[in-house]
């Protein structure tokens, strides 16, 4: 069998970036949540807020550490597997990605240590300020990353000289047409991820009768946030889709499973796209609804996949189904928000076992939604890497052989599997130990900076440092 370095490089990049993405999307939302908790604690003086903040800061530390480790590979992969792409785009992507690294280091150097280790060493206001700066810093980091990605989707502010991109306007290149939508969409996705994880974990604690008072407060906050942000995400997503329709019509055609450019296009609820036959099987749809959503007119014309040659079509089935999973989860999120509102009266939202179980399960939903969302936008622009200008085949490293690519693909899978099963396992330990018994080891530490993960004072193995019998503390 002939090993295709292009295909293997694509799989490797998809694997590494997917693995990496789940960490920052959570930390961005969580950082803002921690800043809010710190703010509430500062304002009200209620120790419950600081208890929650202390606990979630530990979780933040572990997840942030894993995000940094998994991100290291990203910054080298552009060169190892996509050297032609790197050579062509370095004038823009080099500085933009470097600014992301610089932001992250500045954040870590100046504020992360204060947030993680400084609670008892700096005035409360300074600690709050550090929490706000960390939250802001995570957004600035994502600003640069999304500017880079959006520029590849909707390139702007450049001229091509001998196949190399030269920046003619930094503001046009950074604030390229799809950037504001992607940034908003991703920001809200981070908030939703943070909310659902905190809600799910709080629900789990409440179900087990652990620290019910504090976790109820956390859950309540998250449900309010979800109530407003989940519908807001739908609206922002719609605008993002309209922007995609304008700049990347073929991607929208794949999302809708629409082969022929035509009016009155139905919204397909189910279909099996068949790229070879250039058609769908077993279509079930709502007539004209796709036209209405995309053009805001019942008989609006929606572009079809056949507008471009087969070679320039993305893999339709992946885009089509990823889009449906993402939207489906988004709809579930809106329902969770409404249900939470309905259960408000009499505080049933934290007494109803089934609702708490739903929340527990839903804590993984945002990660699936984020990944499928990225599948839509990344697979949907195939075969282009820089949309309309550079395709994947001409971007790959010329000297790369299939064997080399396979070697590192397997290698990275092994490394990530080992490292991240340890990391996720440890995260579970932190959650298991919980909010109780946060014996203040920080008191014992001398005043000194340290690394993120060491903020979580939890042993690696089970069987030690167990929380004292939970049943005794809660009202089980």
């Amino acid at each position: 069998m002939e090993l295709d370095p292009l295909l293997l490089s694509r799989i490797q990049f998809a694997f590494v970036v997917s693995f990496h993405a789940i960490f920052p999307v959570f930390t961005i939302g969580l950082a803002s949540y921690i800043a809010v908790l710190e703010g509430l604690g500062f304002k009200t003086g209620n120790p419950v807020w600081l208890k929650l903040s202390t606990f979630w800061t530990k979780v933040f530390a572990v997840v942030f550490g894993m995000g940094v480790v998994s991100g290291i590979v990203m910054s080298f992969q552009f060169g190892t597997n996509w050297s032609n792409f790197s050579q062509a785009t370095a004038n823009f992507l080099g500085p933009v990605l470097s600014y992301e690294v610089i932001t992250a280091f500045f954040l870590e150097a100046a504020f992360l240590g204060v947030l993680l280790f400084g609670r008892n060493k700096v005035p409360a206001g300074v600690h709050l300020f550090a929490a706000i700066m960390v939250a802001t810093g995570t957004f600035i980091s994502s600003f640069w990353i999304l500017a880079a990605n959006s520029w590849m989707q909707t390139p702007a502010g450049f001229e091509l000289i001998n196949g190399v991109f030269h920046v003619t306007s930094w503001s046009e290149a950074i604030f390229n047409p799809s950037f504001p939508y992607r940034f908003m969409h991703m920001g809200l996705a981070s908030f939703l991820t943070g909310s659902f994880v905190v809600a799910g974990v709080s629900a789990w604690y409440i179900l087990r009768g652990r620290e019910v008072e504090a976790n109820r407060k956390a859950l309540s906050m998250c449900l309010w946030l979800i109530l407003f942000i989940a519908p807001a995400q739908l609206i922002v997503g719609d605008f993002h889709g309209l922007n995609t329709l304008e700049h990347q019509p073929t991607k929208v055609a794949a999302m809708e499973g629409n082969w022929e450019t035509s009016p009155n296009v139905p919204l397909l609820l189910f279909a099996i796209p068949d790229q070879d036959a250039q058609t769908n099987h077993f279509e079930i749809g709502i007539p004209s609804l796709a036209s209405l959503i995309l053009t805001h007119e019942w008989d609006g014309v929606v572009p079809g996949l056949k507008d471009v040659p087969r070679a320039e079509q993305p893999p339709v089935a992946i885009v089509f189904w990823s889009f449906r999973i993402m939207v489906g989860i988004g709809t579930l999120m809106i329902l969770v928000g409404l249900t939470g509102l309905a259960l408000r009266r009499g505080g049933r939202y934290f007494q109803s076992t089934w609702f708490l179980q739903v929340l527990r399960v839903m804590s993984i939903a945002p990660f699936i939604a984020v990944l499928t969302g990225w599948f839509v936008t990344e697979v949907g622009r195939a075969p282009w890497l820089v949309y309309g200008i550079m395709d994947q085949a001409s971007a790959v490293t010329p000297s790369l052989t299939g064997g080399m690519a396979l070697f590192t693909l397997i290698g990275y899978i092994v490394v990530y599997a080992a490292v991240f099963s340890a990391g996720v396992y440890y995260l579970m330990r932190v959650l298991y130990v919980g909010l109780e018994d946060q014996h203040d080891e920080e008191e014992h530490e001398a005043e000194r900076p340290a690394r993120p993960l060491s903020a979580a004072h939890v042993p690696f193995e089970y069987g030690e440092d167990k929380p004292s019998n939970p049943a005794k503390q809660g009202g089980h």
């Binding site: 480790v69 004038n91 080099g94 600014y99 000297s399 064997g403 290698g411 900076p449 690696f460």
Partner: protein, 333 residues
């Protein structure tokens, strides 16, 4: 229009970043290489504690270097990484393993031995890979029109294996002299004992590399044996540093062996730089050939000039806070 020679400025910034990385990550990698040979498990705790507060700050220079290369010298980035494809993977895998081992070993009890191996193995592989990268740079790259056209394992030659071993020995020496400075008692005694054999190994391997290098490449030979005799002061300084290590270990000085080892690294590094200057992708491309657009270099320079001093200040503060001896049982965690 082009007011400054930005490629030259960037060459200094990245060159500075590289030596910062080598010196700082070098000693903590060295501690990792020496890890399995420590007298006892308790000593291993102390060894790890001695580098725990600083190691991840040390590695930030590597990430900064990677991103900085893409931005300032994309040709270096897009030739080195494909040419060293397998080596880069080993380097990253090694660094990831040892980084994670660092965090979890402190928290582990029964699984501690596994993290010990991950830490030592990761450190060793990463160090060897870095040495091989240096060797590959001296060898030069097979390119056509700025694109690497060689094979997957072109970099792996007897010469690069030797530079890889040289880096292992050099980092071990940085590690052992660091331990002399930061520890006491039995562990310090052990560090004193292994330093001189390590110094001998470094001198032998560096010596062979120095004699071999002019034969690897004509240009290097011309550089050293032309009338530019002033550069011979560098190897002389290297030898003086080596002698200083020898003398200070004999006299049981505590700080000087580490300082002299850093001196040895710096003079060797400068020797390497003058051998190849101004070629960043030998044998064909200079730093001006490899540079990105003027506007791109300028755009990033502004942010770098703002942030790098802060990072350096923070780094210096960290080392200041953690000055002094690390004692057994005085857990960092």
């Amino acid at each position: 229009m082009e007011l400054f020679d930005l490629p030259l400025i960037w060459a200094f910034i990245i060159g500075f970043g590289i030596i910062m990385y080598v010196l700082m990550d070098g000693f903590d990698l060295g501690v990792g290489i020496l890890f399995p040979f420590a007298p006892s498990e308790g000593d291993r705790d102390t060894m790890m504690n001695s580098v725990a507060p600083v190691w991840d700050g040390n590695e930030t220079w590597l990430v900064l270097g990677g991103a900085g290369l893409l931005a300032a010298f994309p040709m270096v980035y897009t030739i080195f990484l494909p040419a060293l494809y397998i080596g880069v993977f080993l380097l990253l895998a090694g660094l990831i393993f040892r980084g994670v081992a660092f965090e979890f070993r402190f928290k582990a009890r029964t699984s501690r031995y596994l993290w010990n191996w991950a830490f030592a193995g990761g450190s060793t592989i990463a160090s060897f890979a870095q040495g091989a990268v240096v060797g590959a740079y001296i060898q030069g790259f097979n390119t056509v029109d700025g694109v690497y056209v060689g094979g997957a394992l072109d970099w792996l030659t007897p010469f690069t294996v030797l530079t890889g071993l040289g880096m292992l020995a050099g980092y071990s020496l940085l590690g052992s002299t660091w331990l002399i400075m930061k520890t006491e008692g039995r562990l310090q005694e052990w560090a004193y004992k292994i330093t001189l054999p390590l110094l001998a190994a470094v001198l032998i391997i560096f010596g062979i590399i120095s004699v071999w290098t002019p034969f690897v490449d004509d240009m290097v030979r011309e550089r050293w044996f032309s009338n530019l005799t002033v550069i011979w002061v560098l190897p002389v300084l290297t030898l003086l540093c080596a002698f200083q290590i020898f003398r200070s270990v004999r006299n049981r000085f505590e700080g000087m062996p580490f300082v002299a080892t850093m001196g040895l690294f710096i003079t060797t590094y400068l020797g390497l730089v003058v051998s190849r200057w101004p070629y960043v992708v030998p044998p064909e491309y200079t730093l001006w050939d490899a540079a990105s657009a003027y506007g791109s270099q300028m755009f990033l320079l502004l942010g770098t000039l703002l942030v790098v001093p802060i990072v350096i200040t923070y780094t210096a503060w960290t080392y200041w806070v953690f000055r002094g001896k690390v004692r057994a049982g005085e857990g960092y965690h």
